[in-house]
Each structure stands twice: as structure tokens, then as C-alpha cells.
């Protein structure tokens, strides 16, 4: 059997990749995907802990996270389309009308 720490380390690495990609990537869709990666890393953590505690509440949490992620994707993609219609670009560096 695979020990739980393996899952936790994997999800921590996935979460960090998500954070890194969020900060580095320049395309809005890719940035958005990195958020999804972070959310799924969290899901993995929940499932691993649910298994460790022999308790379903962690798995129920995962269902809610997936539902919310879907709702967020719907709204996020709509906003991205609105951006593309006004700017004709999806590069975050060019979405900079407002600055300090």
C-alpha cells in the first residue's frame, strides 16, 4: 500500500506548480488553468486525508470543490470572452489600462 505521505507530497508539489504557473504564465487561459491545477491539488489532499481518517466528510468536500470549480470556470470563461472582445488579446501584459 502506498503511504499517505506520498499523496500529500504529490499534492503539495502540484499546488506549488499551480502557484508558480499562476505567477509566471502570460496567457490568461493558462493562468486560469493553473488555478484549476491548484484546486485539484487540494482535492487530492482532501481525498488522502479522508482515507487516513476513515471519514467521508473529506470526500464530500471534494464534490463541493468540483461543483464550485465548474461554476467558476463558467464565469471565468465568460469574463475572458468579454476581455477578448474589447482587446483582441489574451496576454496579461497587454491588459493594463489601469496601473498604479
Amino acid at each position: 500500500m502506498v503511504p499517505i505521505s506520498y499523496y500529500l507530497v504529490l499534492s503539495a508539489i502540484l499546488f506549488s506548480i499551480g502557484v508558480g504557473a499562476f505567477l509566471i504564465k502570460r496567457n490568461i487561459i493558462t493562468v486560469f488553468m493553473s488555478i484549476e491545477l491548484m484546486l485539484n491539488a487540494v482535492n487530492l489532499t482532501f481525498v488522502a486525508f479522508a482515507h487516513q481518517w476513515r471519514h467521508v466528510s473529506g470526500q464530500i468536500f471534494v464534490f463541493f470543490v468540483m461543483v464550485v470549480a465548474a461554476a467558476e470556470a463558467a464565469v471565468g470563461l465568460a469574463i475572458i470572452i468579454a476581455i477578448f472582445r474589447t482587446r483582441n488579446t489574451l496576454n496579461v501584459d497587454q491588459v493594463d489600462l489601469m496601473k498604479l
Binding site: 486560469f32 484546486l39 482532501f46 473529506g58
Partner: protein, 489 residues
């Protein structure tokens, strides 16, 4: 009535209101006014307001498998959120109508957002906190994008959306780690488990992640970067809402999590919150100094105000919780009010943007100018306005807990803040330059007058007879007190 249902009655009322508005919208004639829907939303919010007050007569307790709890604390924030939503709806009745399409959707979204915020304040289970947070955030993302034909609207929405979701991921990871450390996501149970035995490192890391997540939502430094851009591009009535109601809800949740779930870990979180408070105050006030754009200036001011509120968090006493709740009310009253003036004067397209555009507002419309001046005076914190007592209680609570340096830094910051508020105040009362800009301001309409009367009265009452609201805030704080006293040991 079913006891369980009674505990979420305000949320149920607002959900039904929102659903009816969405169903009725397509049935209306294409070019007809959407105002009846707005008035219906106002009615629903009023009903929710009274339902929340009625909940005060219920015995304290939980419902739905221990996920929702109604007590004096949740009722206090329910009433506050309902009040903010009410004023925002009144402001947006006229300022959103006209150039925007699908206005009915907007009113429904405000109702749904309010449901999320209310759920957050009564949630005692991290799962429900998360869902409430997301309901409120997703509705505000859409509302921020409401001027989607303008260039700034979608830009502000995407910044809000991306950073908001980023914060949500941190918040969730925090919950996951705490679940791993304690085996539960019920807030009170976490507190019980953490009192016995050694504190697991996972719980501390999880708490830090939750602080990051909520810090983003309340725009506390160093997580404040999105605030000015989002406030500049979003429609002004929406800014009035999202700078107050979701923040009040997030602060309520943070207080509950910190005091009920992690009272014993205060030597971990208290210094963190202390630094967040100091940074927010300094970044907010120094940033506002160099702003020419009024909405950006108010955005920095809201960062600074988040700092004052966090200062009350560090007090670790019932007085501190009461001061934080009281400050949330005073800040909501004056901020919703000032954004009501801004959205009427600037219109849907933000005609008036810079401080100098407001020159002579009081000559053009003594009412708008006077109201703006009054709210600015309250934001500065001059006696006989709510802002004075709000700051007074916050710093008194901090001082009584021995936070001398925090109080000193806070008072210096209040002094710095005078400068940029007074600059706007001076502009409002100086001789007009851009008369063409000011001539475009329509006469104040009835709903706007109602909203202004509501906010001015609230600010004035809080400044002259704060006793009643304060005693309600204390009653709310009392429900957290058993945990606070554990923390002090």
C-alpha cells in the same frame, strides 16, 4: 414553523426573491423598464432584514447537521449585510438603468450574493464557509464585469476573478490541511481537538493559508494589489457593495475561525494579524496620498480601513470583537453613502473620475456636495460622526490589550488620511471649473434620496448615540467570549 428552516429564513427569502426576478425578467417587454424588478428586490431584502431581526428571538442553536448557527453574532452581521444590500439596490435602481442591458440579472445577482455573505456569517462548518464565500465571490465577479462594453470593465473583472480564485485555492488548501490535522471541518470541533495535546504543525500551516485566503478577500496588505484596479473599473454602486458587504462577511468569518477554532494558537496568528494591520494601514494611506482618481483613492482608503479593523482583531478580548463589529457597521454606512454620491454624480459611465472633476459639486448640487462632505468628515473621524466612534473603539480595544505601538501607528495613519480626504472635500466646495461635466449631473431621484437618507442617518446615529449598536455588537461578541477567555489563558 420548521425550526431548521427558521435558522436560514433570511437566506431562503433572498434566494426566492432572486429566482423570481430571474424568471420574471424574460417575461417583461424587451424595452420596458426593469425598475419593478429592482423594487421587488428591495422588498425581498426588507423581508430578509426583518427575518434576521426576528431570528434574535430564536434560542441559539445549530441546524442542518451543525452547519448553520444563529446567535446574536450572526444576526448582527445578517442585519448589517441586509442593510448594505438595501442601500445598494436603491442606488443602483437609477444608476444602472438605461445604458445597460439585462438589468434584471443585476438585481438577482445582488440577492444571490447577499445569500452567500449571510451564509458565511452564520456558518460554523468550514464547508459552508467555503460555499458561502464562493456564492458571494462569483456574484461579485459578474457584477464587476457589468460594463462589459467599456475597456476597463472586463479588465477589472478579470483581475478580480483571477486573484479571487487564487485566494480561494489558498483558503481551500488551508481547510484541507486543518482537516488533515484534526479530522474534522466543524469550527467548534477543531477548537476542542486543538486544546488537547500538542498542536500539529499541519494546523499551523493550514491557519496561515486561511489567513492568506481571507486576506485577499478583505484586501488587507500585502494581498491588496487588486483593489484599486477593480474599484476603478467596476460600476460605482457595485464598488459600494463589494467594498463593504463581502468584506464584513469575510471579517465575521475570520473572527469566528480565529477565536473559536484557534484560540490557543493566538501566539501564532496574533503577530501575523498585527503585521497585516500595520501594513494595510500604511500601504492604504500612503497609496491614497498620490491618487488623483477618486475611486482609486477610495480603494486605498478601504485598504487602510481593513487595517483599522484588523487592529481590533489583535486585541484578543470581547471588547476587540465588539469594536471590530461596530467598525464594520460604521465603515459600511459611510462607504456605501459616498459611493452612492459618486455613482450618481459620475453616472454609469464614470464621467467624473479625477478629484478636480468634483470641483464645484456643492455649487451644482448642494445636496450631493453636502452628503459627500459629511461622509468624508466621517471617514476622517471627526466627532459626531460614526467614523469617530468606530476608530475610537478600535484603538481603545487595542490599547486596553497593551498594543501601544499598534495604536500609535494607527493614530499617525488617521492623521495622514486627513490629507487626501480633505483634498476631495476642498475640491467639492471650491469654485467650479468644468461646468460642462457638472451640468450633466441629473437631479437626485427618489431612490437615491432614500439611500442617502438611510446612510446619512446611520452615520449620524452611530456618531451621536452609538450605545444601542454597540450593545448589540457586545451581545454578538459574547457568543465568542468563552473561546476568547480560553485564548487569554
Amino acid at each position: 414553523m420548521n425550526m431548521q428552516l427558521a435558522r436560514i429564513l433570511p437566506e431562503v427569502i433572498l434566494t426566492i426573491t432572486g429566482v423570481i426576478i430571474m424568471l420574471a425578467e424574460p417575461l417583461l417587454q424587451k424595452n420596458s423598464s426593469r425598475k419593478p424588478l429592482g423594487w421587488f428586490a428591495v422588498l425581498g431584502t426588507l423581508a430578509a432584514l426583518f427575518a434576521s431581526m426576528w431570528q434574535l428571538h430564536l434560542p441559539d442553536g445549530t441546524a442542518y447537521f451543525g452547519t448553520v448557527q444563529t446567535d446574536a453574532y450572526s444576526v448582527f452581521f445578517h442585519v448589517l449585510i441586509a442593510g448594505i444590500v438595501l442601500a445598494t439596490l436603491l442606488v443602483s435602481l437609477d444608476s444602472i438603468d438605461g445604458s445597460a442591458e439585462s438589468v434584471g440579472e443585476f438585481f438577482a445577482l445582488i440577492c444571490f450574493g447577499a445569500v452567500g455573505m449571510m451564509l458565511m456569517t452564520s456558518a460554523v462548518e468550514l464547508l459552508l464557509v467555503f460555499i458561502g464565500l464562493e456564492i458571494s465571490s462569483i456574484s461579485t465577479y459578474i457584477m464587476a464585469c457589468f460594463r462589459r462594453k467599456s475597456a476597463k470593465g472586463p479588465e477589472s473583472a478579470i483581475k478580480y476573478f483571477l486573484l479571487g480564485s487564487f485566494a480561494t485555492a489558498f483558503f481551500l488548501y488551508g481547510i484541507a490541511l486543518i482537516f488533515g490535522a484534526t479530522g474534522t471541518t466543524a469550527i467548534a470541533a477543531i477548537g476542542r481537538i486543538l486544546t488537547v495535546g500538542q498542536t500539529p504543525l499541519l494546523a499551523v500551516v493550514g491557519l496561515a493559508m486561511i489567513l492568506i485566503g481571507i486576506g485577499f478577500k478583505v484586501s488587507a496588505a500585502p494581498f491588496q494589489v487588486w483593489t484599486p484596479d477593480v474599484y476603478e473599473g467596476a460600476p460605482s454602486p457595485v464598488v459600494g457593495l463589494m467594498s463593504t458587504a463581502p468584506k464584513a462577511a469575510a471579517f465575521a468569518v475570520l473572527l469566528r475561525i480565529l477565536y473559536v477554532a484557534f484560540p490557543l494558537l493566538h501566539y501564532h496568528w496574533q503577530p501575523l494579524v498585527w503585521w497585516m494591520a500595520v501594513l494595510s494601514m500604511c500601504v492604504g494611506n500612503l497609496g491614497a496620498l498620490r491618487q488623483q482618481n477618486v475611486k482609486r483613492m477610495l480603494a486605498y482608503s478601504s485598504i487602510a480601513n481593513a487595517g483599522y479593523l484588523l487592529a481590533a482583531f489583535t486585541a484578543l478580548s470581547q471588547e476587540g470583537v465588539a469594536a471590530a463589529s461596530f467598525y464594520a457597521v460604521t465603515y459600511a454606512a459611510m462607504n456605501v453613502g459616498i459611493f452612492a454620491v459618486v455613482s450618481h454624480a459620475g453616472g454609469f459611465g464614470d464621467r467624473l473620475t479625477l478629484v478636480q472633476d468634483y470641483r464645484g459639486l456643492a455649487y451644482r448640487s448642494p445636496l450631493l456636495g453636502g452628503a459627500m462632505a459629511f461622509f468624508l468628515i466621517s471617514l476622517i473621524g471627526i466627532p459626531f460622526t460614526g467614523g469617530f466612534f468606530g476608530k475610537f473603539y478600535v484603538f481603545a480595544a487595542a490599547l486596553h490589550s497593551g498594543m501601544v505601538w499598534l495604536t500609535i501607528i494607527g493614530l499617525i495613519n488617521s492623521g495622514i488620511a486627513c490629507y487626501y480626504y480633505l483634498r476631495l472635500l476642498a475640491a467639492v466646495y471650491s469654485k467650479p471649473v468644468h461646468t460642462d461635466l457638472l451640468d450633466g449631473i441629473p437631479r437626485p431621484t427618489m431612490p437615491l434620496l432614500l439611500a442617502l437618507v438611510l446612510t446619512v442617518a446611520a452615520t449620524l446615529i452611530l456618531g451621536i448615540v452609538p450605545g444601542q449598536v454597540l450593545s448589540l455588537a457586545r451581545a454578538g461578541a459574547n457568543t465568542l467570549v468563552p473561546y476568547v477567555t480560553t485564548a487569554m489563558k
